[in-house]
């Protein structure tokens, strides 16, 4: 069964970029445009890896990570955050909240696949 990746980003092009790359690599990809929608999706669906942006409306990435880690069901789901190189503080915040790893934007497709493999069996 294909691994399912949930990409959470308010930017459609970013989501499509992630989805495009991962689908080509054989993953199944679901998309959510903010943290709240991601949580709604995860109520009913499974994700093997979650890739989330940090800056999003409604519920941002850090809040999403914190919410997921607080839920035993999602405590062990690898969560990758998308950050910009300029934002060490934000990255640290995400890590403290429970992010497994991070991807620095702009990422190249190979790197994305490597990183997803690094955190998911």
């Amino acid at each position: 069964m294909a691994k399912i990746v949930l990409t959470v980003d308010d930017s459609r092009s970013m989501r499509e970029m992630v989805a495009f790359t991962l689908r080509k690599a054989g993953y199944e990809v679901r998309e959510a445009e903010d943290g709240q929608k991601a949580i709604a999706i995860l109520q009913t669906a499974r994700a093997d890896v979650i890739i989330t942006d940090l800056n999003m409306p409604v519920m941002d990435g850090v809040a999403l990570i914190r919410a997921l880690r607080a839920d035993p069901k999602h405590r062990s789901v690898p969560i990758l955050m998308l950050t910009t190189e300029s934002n060490e503080a934000k990255k640290a915040e995400g890590k403290t909240a429970g992010a497994t790893g991070w991807l620095v934007k702009p990422f190249d497709p190979e790197k994305l696949i490597d990183v997803v493999k690094r955190v998911s069996p």
Partner: protein
């Protein structure tokens, strides 16, 4: 999906993001921003940058990056907004829009055009405590250590909390294996007895030997995410000596403690939306159109049955009609879009033009949430741009002139939109000098557009500016003199089924009124018969209809007929004459007069044989396979499958003063319609 598709998405999205950035900036400059405005602005710029990076649009990424740095400081309160910063951000957004457009169109902007702005952002940001960044963010990737060895010994001792972030040492082993042969020695000495074991803690220490000549950085990469949560030592094989205490040679990471900002976003949740390809919506609209025709056909057939034969059928048809109307409204609503997307482009135009013309003006926009058919929105951009250009170039006076005339130095232009029943009215008001009627009149006479001795009302004179090739600018300016006149604006608006009118007071300003149909595809129509033909009148234009008494009809000296109604006179236009239909009722007192209203509230009585009924009609184009016809706005298909022509009231009214003695012969080529 392919790469081009991704690019298209990016540019579509960037356009939306830029629009939202402009509207947030407008909110900031008008002091109606709240806490979220700056967050939303940050996200817009951030998203443009994020996607741009993926496509390697380095220049726009670099600019977005310095903007983002500044916005970050504003967001955190390290800097406060002021007019200067807002202006800087506006200019930055303008430049960003240009850079995005250049990438989209495959152009390259002159190198360095954005350098000055980028510097300005850097300086502004440095006041907020950010280090000045000189290089583009993408160029600032960490330099890659080049140390290499024939292989590596790796000592990896996870801290107990390693699992909390869902990291998994086994996956790291797997990743190391991909680089080359790995020997693993597991150290279980830290493993507690079962009763003391915390199932979610890490206890195992790993010693790997990787026999592959890879750079140290690649090995470090594997442990990138866990570096803070473990003791890690990476030693070249040649050295082959493990330090007794690995943690000594582990680089000490001491992440600055980040005080956690309370995340209390009160963003009103964005309206849930789905992106749908316009083609799909159009297909839906067409299908609904076909259904409307089908339904009309069924109703017509049903009407021929004796009512008691199948009573359920009639009731069923009525319900069907009702549902169909709702379905149609629903589908049409999908196509509507706020005019914001086109209004949002105007502030920039005003900024640029005022700078170019040495004038001062502020633009006030209201009603930008008014929704209108998407196609109409897109096609409004050109006419509105032209009107605004015109208002700034010809309307708003230079500041000194204004002052001398007792006006504020800064001119005001008000752009508004509102819905009035089934039409959208867009208004562009300026407090400039207004139309100089004497000059317009002179010019029109000079050009032979009107007779030298013509006496025109003020409204008629104002209307002259819409004549083809009429331009009052005695000097062709770089701004307005682009060979496009107001006639083109009028034609564009008419092509959208709209009307344009102007009201002006010399010395105090002009007001342009654009009235547009809510949607292009369907309208409520009155079916009228003239001879053997049926025509459709737009319900929205109809005031009333009546059968006139012979005594109420008078002839003017030029033999045009007028109808006396409630003490006033309305000119009559017999449609059979205007459209050359044979076999129609010619005795006015046996005909029906439909009073319609034209642009300026002027009334006209259309003489028809009979009223057939009222129905929704799907507007189809005649232009595609034939061409425009004077007096006709389009065609539709009636319930019996036949085509009926839809009358265009403004052009009927305009060309309508045909004296009865000079009827248009049926089916005669006629270009001279006046």
């Amino acid at each position: 999906m392919n790469f081009d598709h991704l690019r298209t998405t990016y540019f579509e999205e960037s356009a939306e993001l830029l629009e939202s950035a402009y509207s947030h900036l407008a909110a900031l400059s008008e002091n109606r921003a709240d806490d979220d405005t700056v967050h939303a602005l940050f996200r817009a710029i951030h998203s443009i940058k994020g996607g741009g990076g993926a496509f390697g649009f380095d220049r726009l990424v670099a600019l977005a990056h310095v903007m983002e740095t500044l916005l970050d400081l504003l967001r955190d309160g390290a800097l406060a907004f002021d007019a200067q910063l807002t202006g800087l951000l506006l200019r930055g957004t303008d430049m960003l829009a240009d850079l995005v457009a250049a990438e989209r169109d495959g152009n390259t902007l002159p190198p360095g055009v954005e350098a000055e702005l980028a510097n300005a952002f850097g300086q502004a940001a440095s006041k907020g405590g950010a280090p000045q960044e000189i290089k583009a963010s993408v160029a600032a990737l960490p330099s890659v250590p080049t140390e290499a060895a024939s292989g590596w010994h790796i000592h990896f001792r996870p801290h107990p909390a390693l699992f909390r972030n869902a990291n998994e040492p086994l996956l790291l082993v797997r990743e190391l294996r991909r680089m080359g042969p790995v020997t693993t020695v597991v150290d279980l000495s830290q493993l507690p007895t079962l009763d003391l074991l915390e199932p979610e803690d890490a206890y195992i220490t790993w010693n790997f030997t990787l026999e592959a000549a890879v750079p140290r950085a690649k090995v470090e990469d594997v442990f990138e995410f866990v570096a803070d949560d473990c003791d890690l030592a990476i030693v070249p094989i040649a050295e082959a000596v493990f330090a007794g205490d690995a943690s000594e040679i582990t680089e000490e990471h001491s992440p600055a403690l980040v005080q956690q900002r309370a995340v209390s976003r009160t963003d009103t949740p964005a309206a849930q939306s789905v992106r749908v390809d316009v083609g799909k919506v159009d297909r839906l609209v067409n299908l609904v159109g076909e259904l409307v025709i089908n339904q009309a056909m069924l109703v017509q057939l049903g009407g021929q049955l004796p009512p008691d034969l199948c009573p359920g059928l009639i009731a069923g048809l009525e319900t069907l009609s009702q549902h169909l109307r709702e379905l149609q409204d629903g589908v049409m609503a999908i196509r509507t879009q706020p005019v914001r997307s086109v209004f949002a482009r105007m502030p920039r135009l005003v900024r640029e033009l005022t700078a170019q013309l040495g004038k001062e003006a502020r633009l006030i926009i209201t009603g930008e949430a008014t929704e209108i058919d998407k196609n109409v929105v897109e096609q409004l951009a050109d006419p509105l741009t032209h009107l605004l250009r015109n208002a700034l170039d010809h309307g708003i006076e230079p500041p000194d002139t204004r002052e001398a005339a007792g006006k504020p130095r800064v001119g005001t232009i008000h752009l508004s939109a509102e819905q009035r029943s089934s039409r959208i009215v867009i208004e562009l008001n300026d407090d400039g000098r207004g139309i100089d009627r004497a000059r317009v009149l002179d010019r029109a006479k000079e050009r032979g557009l009107i007779a030298p001795d013509a006496v025109l009302t003020d409204t008629e004179i104002d209307e002259l500016i819409f004549l083809p090739s009429f331009s009052t600018a005695s000097v062709v300016s770089a701004v307005s003199g682009r060979g496009v006149g107001m006639d083109v604006v009028r034609r564009n608006i008419q092509a959208l089924g709209g009307r344009i009118a102007v009201e002006s007071r010399f010395g105090s300003g002009s007001r342009f009124l654009l009235s547009l149909p809510l949607t292009l595809a369907v309208m409520d129509g009155l079916v009228v018969s003239v001879g053997a033909d049926s025509f459709i009148l737009p319900i929205s234009a109809i005031v009333e209809s009546l059968r006139p008494a012979a005594a109420d009809i008078q002839n003017l000296p030029d033999r045009r007929a007028v109808l006396c109604i409630r003490g006033g006179y309305v000119p009559l236009l017999p449609l059979h004459q205007r459209l050359g239909v044979r076999g129609a009722v010619t005795d006015f007192s046996r005909a029906i007069v439909v009073i319609v209203e034209s642009d300026h509230g002027g009334r006209l009585g259309l003489v028809v044989d009979d009223l057939v009924g009222q129905q929704q009609v799907v507007v189809k184009s005649l232009d595609a396979n034939y061409g425009p016809i004077d007096g006709i706005g389009g065609a539709t298909i009636l319930g019996d499958g036949r085509v009926a022509l839809i009358l265009d009231i403004p052009s009927l009214a305009a060309g309508g003063n045909v004296p009865p003695s000079d009827p248009q012969p049926a089916f005669e080529t006629s270009a001279s319609l006046h």
